[in-house]
């Protein structure tokens, strides 16, 4: 499948290179329990998931919904069914910078693994999509104490999450805004499985911690190269392979962490 770019040249959509962040795994389901849209939960043995099911609450994830506020006690963990939740660090002047993102490949509330306590970061729904399954902290900890498949899965995700957080730290120091933008767009595409998503350049600037003018420059560079476009308040990825080439190594590294550690 290919697109015609503005110049008339054919742009190959590298759909064959696209792989979701984690490969969906066939789950043994019974007729009574439908598969969770969250990949971590979907990877659990059917019996474990069935046991937890009564304790899950389903909440919707509308745009800009705040799941977690820094400094507030952590009370629950959240497994998104889709979309993207931004984990933001809020500076003292109120500027919020994204440090990590969670889609249906993960969960929000990593401090639950470390005894709970106060929430460290702000979790904000950046790209809405459907709902999420929420587990109270007590239930989460009880299930972790069983030291079974749930704990293994949570721990593996925790490692992938930390590794990608550390990679982002290095990336933010070393790489250009253009590279970081390309990385962000690619990871978002992987998470939501769509090439277009609602996003303003304003929001992008905030997330990447740069000035609006800086993001415009970076955005235009990627647009001029035919890699992305901005169409009616949506960002569209036009050339996936090109975008991967424009991204820094951190995209592949982060994706690799999730691919290796998750089912």
């Amino acid at each position: 499948m290919s697109l015609r770019s503005v110049s008339g040249a054919s742009v190959e959509l590298a759909s064959c290179l696209y792989r979701p962040l984690t490969a969906p795994k066939a789950l043994m389901t019974t007729e009574h329990v439908s598969r969770s849209p969250n990949q971590l939960l979907a990877s659990l043995p059917a019996a474990d998931y069935r046991r937890l099911l009564p304790d899950f609450k389903t909440i919707s994830l509308p745009s800009k919904h705040v799941l977690q506020k820094p400094g507030e006690p952590l009370q629950r963990v959240c497994f998104p069914g889709g979309g993207v939740v931004s984990i933001m660090h809020v500076m003292t002047d109120g500027q919020a910078v994204e440090m990590a993102a969670v889609g249906n490949e993960g969960f929000v509330g990593i401090s639950a693994c470390l005894g709970g306590g106060l929430q460290i970061a702000e979790a904000l729904v950046q790209i809405p999509n459907g709902s999420a399954q929420v587990l109270e902290l007590g239930v989460f900890q009880r299930e972790m104490d069983r030291r079974g498949a749930f704990r293994d899965m949570i721990n593996r995700y925790g490692q992938a999450y930390l590794a990608s957080l550390m990679q982002s730290i290095a990336c933010n120091a070393l790489h250009t805004v253009e590279e970081r933008l390309a990385r962000w767009l690619l990871l978002t595409h992987d998470r939501i499985g769509r090439r277009d998503f609602p996003m303003t350049q304003e929001a992008l600037a905030g997330m990447l911690g740069v000035r609006r003018s800086t993001i415009t420059l970076a955005f235009n560079a990627l647009r001029r190269a035919g890699l992305i476009d901005h169409v009616s308040k949506k960002i569209v990825i036009k050339n996936r392979a090109g975008l991967e080439a424009a991204a820094c190594e951190c995209y592949a590294t982060i994706k690799g962490h999730f691919a290796r550690l998750l089912p």
Partner: protein
């Protein structure tokens, strides 16, 4: 009745170990080795099987990520307020990061990973202090991610000098511009410029292989907010 005397080894300079009740600490003693670690010693590389957990006694350690071209970038600093080996808290066997000594440690404590897991499973005071630090450590990572995106080389330089000085407990410590450039993830000339500006303003004095902090207060003003925030977080 013989009076109970604390053995000298009971006084651990690592604050996490020192916070343990006597009984717990005594139980760990047989598995706690002691090892001096010199400047630039590499404890672990990301992806390597991590055999040990380290509890610094003094000095300072750079937690690093390795880029494909071999460049190291510092993502956090750890001293005797913490431990090195967070992957173990998540049941991992591979190091998530590199760790390198940036200020020498006379007597770091070392524990085999298996002993660490065994003690964690008791869910006692050890698990509490470990989890407590792990949370603060993750918070400092988040601060670093934002810092690197938003703050200038000069601000980050000032912050780095203050943080390292705090860990050492001294205003003078070994430093090469090369090393600092690597850790900050910037080009050497940027570090030269930043250090030059800080020296020109009378905040520091640097010579071959070492730096002296002359004016802490001024250096704090030059640093980004991340210095004060992480200092508060890590205690």
């Amino acid at each position: 009745m013989p009076s109970r005397r604390r053995s000298r080894s009971r006084t651990s300079r690592n604050k996490l170990l020192a916070a343990l009740p006597d009984g717990d600490y005594r139980r760990l003693l047989p598995v706690l080795g002691t090892i001096p670690l010199p400047f630039k010693h590499v404890l672990q590389k990301p992806g390597e099987t991590a055999q040990h957990i380290y509890f610094p006694s003094d000095g300072a350690y750079s937690i690093t990520r390795l880029m494909e071209d071999g460049r190291m970038v510092e993502v956090a600093t750890v001293g005797n307020e913490g431990f090195i080996g967070i992957n173990a808290v998540f049941g991992g066997i591979r190091a998530l990061s590199g760790a390198v000594v940036k200020v020498p440690d006379g007597a770091a404590r070392v524990m085999p990973v298996r002993s660490f897991h065994r003690e964690m499973q008791r869910r006692g005071p050890f698990a509490s202090v470990i989890n407590g630090f792990a949370q603060r450590f993750v918070a400092s990572l988040m601060q670093a991610a934002a810092c690197h995106a938003v703050h200038s080389v000069e601000q980050r330089c000032a912050r780095w000098l203050l943080t390292t000085g705090d860990r050492v407990g001294d205003d003078e410590f070994p430093l090469t511009q090369e090393f600092l450039a690597v850790l900050l993830g910037v080009r050497r000339p940027s570090v030269t410029l930043a250090l030059g500006a800080l020296q020109h303003a009378g905040m520091i004095e640097y010579g071959p292989g070492r730096v002296i902090i002359l004016d802490r207060m001024a250096l704090k003003d030059a640093a980004c907010e991340c210095y004060a925030i992480v200092k508060r977080q890590l205690g």
